[in-house]
């Protein structure tokens, strides 16, 4: 009898897992692509940075609080107002990477709502809240 080379149907990933994987692919690679392009714009000087490139190494040996004070850099979502600057333009890529998982979890919430899987619905909703709070800047945007 010939060896089975194709995986049987029962070993295949569930529908929610495939949907999650597809979204993850789009988010990850578009995030990396955006980072690559925005970084080239940044280091080539096509768009003037908020903190001049030659000044960054003067301050990166200090803690983040000192760096922010010395350069007048924003915290929380303050970067969003500086997207026209070469350095903060890179945040578009970082944010895309950071939002990918949150978007993926939204699809799970919808899926588990429809299938009435209450346990996983609660877990995914809580995860969206945790990620949302972390992303909001409520916790990370304050500081020293």
């Amino acid at each position: 009898m010939a060896l089975q080379s194709e995986p049987p149907i029962e070993t295949r990933a569930s529908r929610e897992q495939i949907v999650y994987a597809n979204l993850l692919t789009m988010g990850a690679w578009s995030g990396v692509f955006v980072l690559l392009v925005t970084y080239l714009i940044y280091v080539s000087g096509l768009l003037a940075p908020y903190v001049p490139l030659e000044k960054v190494p003067e301050y990166w040996g200090q803690g983040v609080a000192e760096y922010r004070t010395a350069t007048g850099s924003p915290r929380g979502w303050g970067w969003a107002e500086l997207l026209d600057r070469g350095d903060y333009l890179n945040y578009a890529g970082f944010v895309l990477l950071g939002l990918t998982t949150i978007v993926c979890y939204f699809t799970l919430v919808v899926r588990f709502w429809k299938t009435k899987n209450r346990v996983l619905l609660v877990i995914c909703t809580l995860e969206v809240i945790v990620l949302g709070v972390a992303a909001s800047g409520i916790l990370g945007g304050g500081g020293h």
Binding site: A13, L24, W60, Q62, F94, I123, A134, G140
Partner: protein, 326 residues
């Protein structure tokens, strides 16, 4: 290209890796002696240096079977002139990018399990947020606390990697009630064996408690947590090794996201440091995967363990200001 040439590539990579470390070392030491830790080296030197360094790191990490984040943070904080706040921010982005890129393929092949990931990811991400806040608070009080803590953690990780005996297919006679309720079981197709593998977990509560600790360390030190995820999923919860490794990689995309947002919102992610590190490590990992089939990774694994021990001691030495390691 001949097979012999390919076999020496990893050794050349390791050699280049240590050369870059040595070149960066004096520069770091010199710059940190300057007022406020400022660097005198022109800015344009750093992106290609970081890219090359992280490329090597990516190659070596794959061959040694460890994540890039666990090597990145101690080595870059030890040998580059960046404050540990920025290294941790970049380290999380490095680990996140790698996990996001690897996750989809693992999910599609059903090696990474969403059902196994969801509950433990919730615990780990809550505590990685707490760890990130705690780490940034301690760093603001005195960065040496974090530096010494990182050194102790890295040394502990090296010991864990040295001693951990993961099991290919753990025996789980009876699934516990919590694992059953959470749907922590599945099947996958093992291409190498040509057979279907069924699995289920046990000791779910203990496993989830351990993810509290994993999340804290990952957030506090900006480390990816594959070094801890795999033994907990495999040895404690009883998931097969392939499922544990794949699920661990996917898990990082969730836990590192939560901690990365905290660091990003504090301004700890400097594009000049983070982007070349992320791109270098991702590219290095791709090359590492190709090399995996033609080299013997065991020797490289031992070399990486030595590097981890060294990086751990260096971090403790730097934090305590002893100066034994330069």
């Amino acid at each position: 290209m001949s097979g012999a040439w390919w076999r020496i590539v990893p050794l050349l990579a390791l050699f280049a890796f240590f050369v870059v470390m040595m070149l960066a070392g004096p520069s770091a030491a010199e710059s940190l002696e300057g007022e406020g830790g400022s660097s005198t080296t022109p800015w344009w030197v750093w992106p290609p240096t970081l890219f090359a360094f992280c490329f090597m790191l990516g190659v070596v990490a794959v061959l040694a079977g460890v994540g890039g984040g666990v090597l990145y943070v101690p080595l870059v904080s030890g040998f580059f002139p960046f404050h540990i706040d920025f290294v941790r921010g970049a380290g999380l982005m490095v680990a996140l990018a790698g996990a996001l890129a690897a996750g989809p393929g693992l999910l599609r092949r059903n090696l990474a399990s969403l059902r196994l990931s969801l509950p433990v990811a919730l615990v780990a991400s809550i505590f990685s947020v707490i760890g990130a806040l705690l780490g940034l608070h301690l760093s603001a009080l005195d960065p040496r606390i974090v530096q010494v803590g990182l050194g102790v953690a890295i040394t502990g990780i090296a010991v864990l990697l040295l001693l951990a005996k993961n099991t290919w297919q753990p025996t789980v006679t009876k699934q516990d009630a919590v694992g059953l309720a959470l749907g922590m079981h599945g099947t996958y197709w093992d291409y190498a064996m040509g057979e279907t593998v069924e699995w289920k977990t046990h000791r779910t509560i203990l496993g989830m408690l351990l993810f509290v600790f994993i999340g804290l360390l990952a957030g506090m030190f900006g480390l990816g947590a594959g070094w801890a995820n795999v033994p907990v999923l495999n040895m404690v919860m009883g998931a097969p090794l392939k499922v544990s490794v794949a699920t661990s990689k996917f898990l990082l995309s969730i836990t590192d996201t939560s901690a990365a947002w905290i660091y990003m919102n504090r301004g700890c992610v400097l594009p000049l440091i983070a982007v070349p590190s992320m791109l270098g490590l991702m590219l290095g990992s791709l090359v590492g995967v190709r090399l995996l089939s033609v080299v013997k990774p065991q020797l490289i694994r031992y070399i990486v363990l030595v590097v981890l021990f060294f990086a751990g001691f260096k971090s403790i030495d730097k934090g305590l200001g002893l100066g034994f390691l330069g």
